[in-house]
Structures are given as C-alpha cells and as structure tokens.
Symmetry: C2
Subunit: 141 residues, 2 copies
DNA sequence: CTTGCTCCTCTAGTCGCTAGAGAATGTAGC
DNA sequence: GCTACATTCTCTAGCGACTAGAGGAGCAAG
C-alpha cells in the first residue's frame, strides 16, 4: 500500500483542490508535509485525515478560525469538549438564523415574481417593490 | 423642505453606511452627486431613492451586477421587463437552493450537538462526526 | 478661537480562496 | 538519450462587497 501521495492525489482523495491544500498549509491549518528530493510535497495518511476533517468542517460552514480550534481539540482528546460543543452550537444558531431570513426573502421574491405581468418595466412589480420597501409584506429584513 | 443632504444624513435616511455610499459612487452604481463649495457631497431626493433601491436589492441578496442591470431597467420604464423577471427568478432559485442545503446542514449540526455528552474530546460526537463524513445521515453535502 | 463633529481622499485589509506567470521535476514513449 | 506532456513548485495578484484607518480640511456652536 502507498505510504504517501503527492499533492494531486491528496486533492483527488480529499476533494480539496491543489491550490487550496497549499493555502491551508500557508495559513498553518495543515502542517507542512515532508518533501521528496525534488522538493515535492508528499502526504501521509494522517495528513489526509486532517484534510478530510477540514473539508467536512468547511462543508458544514465552520470558518477557518473555528476549524483551527476544532483541530487543536482533536489533537488533545483528553480535554473537555465544551469548546467544541459551543462552536457547533454557535454554528447551528447561525444556520437557523440564516434559514429564517432566507425564508422571509423567499416569500418576498415569490411575491415579486408572481406579481410580474411580463409587460413593460414601468409596470413591473419586481422593479416597483425594489424601489419601495414598504410594499414588502413583512419588514423583517 | 430640504433640497439636499450631506452624506451622513443620506446614510441615516437610507441605512447605507457612509463609506459604502462612497464605494457605490466609486464603482459607478450611484452617480457622483454635486458638491458644496467646501467639496462636500450633497444628495438630492432622487439620489436617496436610488440609494434605497440599492439597499433593498442588497438586502434581498442581489449582487452588484444584478443591481446595476435593475437600475438601468428602472431608468428605462418603457422596455419590456423580461430581464428584471429573469434576474428575480434566478435569485429566487438561488435562495430556494440555499434553504435546502442549509436545512440539511441544520439536521447534521443538530445530530452532532445532541450527541455530545459534554465529556472529553476523545468521546465527543462533534469531533467524531467532523473527522468521519460517513457518519452523516444524508450525504447531501 | 477652540472644541468636536463631519467630511474629504487614499491605501490597505478582510475572508477563503482562485488564477496566472514562469520555472523545475517527473514520467512515458521512441 | 531525447522529446513531449503532466504535475508540481513559488510567487503575486485578483475576486466581491465592503470595512478600517491615516492624515487632513471644513464647519457650527460656545
């Protein structure tokens, strides 16, 4: 079995693009891997796991600083996990809030689009509503 | 009645911050207003209306290029409004998609947070799930 | 006349990448 | 070996939509 892989293969396996991997190294999120004689990075299984962790975290919308903290926690398994829990809860609260405001937005946009009679711009409800906020149903935004 | 207001007052009335107003002028979204003798911008009612239009559009998540197009349309009311309708519909589709993926995300995060027993990091479900994507319910993301 | 606010221009920073230049290294076929 | 091509390297600059800060000028009230 392969003991280590070059960056392109690491990208393929992790789903993180090559320049992004280098970027993560640059900002200190991923440790600098060993190099071959020809100065090329090669990644061990542990690096690939870390990369997968980062990718999954990014997919869940955690920002880099949060991921940095989560990775540090992962490296110290005997610590209490209150911090991890707090970070995840904050992210959850943010997602819930976003869903709320996007749902309000959706209602607004549906009204606009339904109201459009496909005529001239002068009578277009889309433009009209944009120009006059008070025509919105709920002024939640 | 006030014929024109300085930038701070325009910011107050429109809810757009002072540097952002200057930024909009810089990128050509807002026409450069007249200046006082002391070189200060002063805004007419029409400028304030345009600013309100921009702000509302941004709140609804339209990007600057879309707003540029919408503003041009507003300036030409006799044109057909198909373009405006298309832009709004694209935005709506985007919002719907975002709500979908955020809702999947929410489920994921709830599982993580609920699974956390507030113990040590080594047994924390938050960290565990982040490290192993296959533990996710639906691999929609 | 001084205090304190608003305003001016300009540059640089934010976040999380992404794109591109220009060079070196590695691999496969001949 | 030689050539062609892919992959990798470093470095810098750009994206969107602002935001922050420096350093200075204008202006209104006490």
């Amino acid at each position: 079995m392969m003991r280590s892989v070059p960056i392109g293969e690491a990208a393929r396996q992790s789903g993180v693009k090559v320049p992004t991997i280098r970027y993560y190294e640059h900002i200190g999120l991923l440790p600098a891997p060993n190099r071959t004689e020809g100065n090329r990075r090669h990644y061990e299984t542990s690096d690939l796991r870390r990369l997968a962790f980062i990718r999954h975290s990014r997919e869940l919308g955690f920002d880099i600083e949060a991921i940095r903290t989560l990775l540090t926690l992962q490296d110290n398994p005997s610590q209490p996990c209150a911090t991890a829990d707090t970070i995840a809860q904050a992210r959850l609260a943010d997602v819930v809030q976003r869903i709320r405001s996007l749902t309000a937005l959706k209602a607004e946009l549906e009204l606009m689009v339904e109201g459009c009679r496909r005529g001239k711009v002068g009578e277009c409800r889309v433009i009209e509503v944009l120009a006059d906020h008070s025509q919105c149903e709920h002024a939640r935004h």
